[in-house]
C-alpha cells in the first residue's frame, strides 16, 4: 500500500536560516498522525511545505522530496488541485471578510461549484462538522470576521473541510477554543478519520495521545522519534528527550 504522504530527506531554509535538517517519515492513509515538538521546531513550516504555500515566502528554499499519493508535490501539474486535496487549519483563526456562508463556500466556488443546492448542503455539513452550525445557522449572512476568536477558528476548520480534502492538516487548532468545544471537534476528527488522513500538530501532548495512531516528535528541525503513540507516551520511548518532553520536564 502506498503511503498517503511520504517525506524524504526534507531540508528547508528561510534565507540563511535552516529549519529542517533532512527529515524523512510517512503518513498512512486514514490515520491520525500526531506531530509534537517545542516552538520553533519546524512544525508549521513542514505543513506549509506539504501544501506548497511555503514557496510564497520570499527567500525560502527546500530540498528533498515530499510526495502525496506517490506523486512529488513539486511536480504536480495543478498545484491548486494539490492544495484542495489538503485541508489546512492555521494556528491563528482567520475569518475572511465575507459572510459566514461565503467563507465556507469560497473554496468550492473557486473550484467551480455553482449549484446553490449543493453549496447549501456542503456549507451546512462543514459547519456542523466544525461544531459551529448551531451557533451560526440563523445568521449565515453576517460577517465571518465579526465572530469570536474561537468561532472563527471553527470557521477556519469548516473552510478547510469545504473543498472535501483527502488530507486534513490541523496546526494547533485548539489554541483559541475552549475545552468543551475542543472535545467536540476531537470527536468529529475520530469520525472524519474514516474518510481522510489527518495530520495533527499540537502543543497539547495529551491531545496527540488521545487521537493519534502514531506520533512524531520534532525538535529543532530533526525527528527525535516517530513511533506508535503508545510507544511515545508509554514508559519506554527510544529517546530520553521524548520521554522528558511528553512528561513536561523538558528544557
Amino acid at each position: 500500500m502506498v503511503s498517503k504522504i511520504q517525506v524524504q530527506n526534507l531540508r528547508t531554509w528561510y534565507g540563511e536560516k535552516q529549519v529542517h535538517h533532512g527529515i524523512s517519515f510517512h503518513v498512512e492513509p486514514n490515520e491520525i498522525f500526531g506531530i509534537i515538538g517545542p516552538a520553533q521546531s519546524g512544525k508549521t513550516t513542514l505543513l506549509r511545505a506539504i501544501n506548497r504555500t511555503f514557496e510564497f515566502t520570499a527567500g525560502t528554499r527546500q530540498e528533498g522530496v515530499i510526495s502525496v499519493d506517490g506523486e512529488d508535490v513539486k511536480r504536480v501539474r495543478d498545484v491548486y488541485e494539490l492544495r484542495r486535496k489538503i485541508g489546512m487549519v492555521a494556528p491563528l483563526p482567520v475569518g475572511l471578510p465575507l459572510s459566514i456562508y461565503d467563507n465556507v463556500a469560497f473554496a468550492p466556488r473557486s473550484a467551480g461549484m455553482r449549484n446553490k443546492g449543493e453549496l447549501d448542503e456542503l456549507v451546512e455539513r462543514c459547519l456542523t462538522q466544525a461544531a459551529l452550525w448551531d451557533e451560526v445557522k440563523d445568521r449565515l449572512d453576517s460577517l465571518g470576521t465579526k465572530l469570536s476568536g474561537g468561532q472563527q477558528q471553527r470557521l477556519t476548520i469548516a473552510r478547510a473541510l469545504s473543498h472535501q480534502p483527502e488530507i486534513l492538516c490541523l496546526d494547533e487548532f485548539s489554541i483559541a477554543i475552549d475545552p468543551v468545544t475542543t472535545m467536540r471537534i476531537e470527536d468529529v476528527l475520530k469520525v472524519l478519520k474514516k474518510d481522510m488522513t489527518i495530520i495533527l500538530v499540537t502543543n497539547l501532548v495529551q491531545q496527540a495521545r488521545r487521537l493519534a495512531a502514531r506520533t512524531m516528535f520534532l525538535w529543532n528541525g530533526e525527528i527525535i522519534e516517530c513511533d506508535k503513540t503508545e510507544v511515545i507516551f508509554g514508559g519506554k520511548p527510544a529517546d530520553k528527550r521524548t520521554h522528558d518532553y511528553v512528561n513536561g520536564i523538558f528544557g
Binding site: 504555500t53 492544495r83 484542495r84 482567520v94 475572511l96 471578510p97 469560497f106 470576521t145 473552510r159
Partner: protein, 306 residues
Amino acid sequence: MTMHAEASPTPVPFVVNDAVRRKMKHEKIAKGIFATMIVLMLLPLIGILGYLVSQGAPLISWDFLTTNPAKGMTQGGIWSALLGTIWLVIVSLCISAPMGVMAAVYLNEYARDNWFTRIVNLAVVNLAGVPSIVHALFGMGAFVLFFDMGRGILAASLTLAVMTMPVVITSTREALGAVPMSFREACWNVGATKWQTIWKIVLPNSISGILTGVILEISRKAGETVPIMFTGAVFFKKIQEGDFFAYGLNDQCMALSMHLYTVTTQVNGAPRELPFAVATVLIVSIILINSTAIATRAWLRSRKKW
C-alpha cells in the same frame, strides 16, 4: 467580612506632590505648543483662500464659466480653459488610473522579490520626485515628437499620466498592503489562485484606498502647468460654447492653470479681479474633488469588514 478587611493592607491614597504637578504642567505646555503649530499652519492657508475667494467671487457667474475669453482675454469668461482642463484630466485619468492600479497589483501581489522588482520599485519612488519640467520635456520628446502625435490633448494627457502614475502606484500599493496577509494565505490554503484571491478578497477590501488615491490624483493633474504647456496647451483658443465635446482628442486646448498664468503675467488691461476669479474656480474645483475623495473613503470605510 471583618476578617477580610483586617487582612488587606491599608489603602494608599493618590498623592499629588510636586513631581506630579510638574509632570502635568509639562503635559499642558507640550499640548499647547503643538496646538499653536496647527493654528500657525492653518492661518496662511485660510488667509490665502479667503483673500482669493473674496476678490474673485464677484466676477464668477454662470456666464463667466460658459463663455470663451474675449477681447485679448481681458473680458469674457473661461469656458475654453475650463473645458480643456476637464478633458485633460479625464483623458489622462483613463490612462494612468487603470495602468497604475494594475502595475501596483502586479508589484504587490505577483512580483517576487528579485532584482527586477527592486529596480521597478526604485524607479517608481524616484519618478515621483522628478520635477515637472523634466516630465514636460520628456512628454514633448516622446509623445509630441517621437510618436509624432503633435501638440494636443492626447500628448498632454499622456504626459500628465506619466507624471502622476508613480503616485497612483504608491497609493494603490499602500491600499493593497493594508489587507492582512493572513487573508491571502487562507485563500491560497483552500486552493484559490492568486487571481481569485485578488478579485474576491484583496480588491474589494482595498477599493476605498485605491479610489482615494485616484481621486486625489485628479487635483494634481488639474493644477499642473508646465507639462501641458510644452505638449498641448495654448494661450488662447475659441471653441463652441456650451458643447461639452468641443475639443477633439488631438486638438490643442486651453487649461485653467495656464490661463491663470497668462492673465496674471501676459495680459494687459484685464480687470484686477480676473486672475482671482480664475484661481478661485481652479481651487474650489480641486477642493470639491478632494472632498469627494474624503467622502468616498469615509463611506467605504464605514463598510469595512474586519
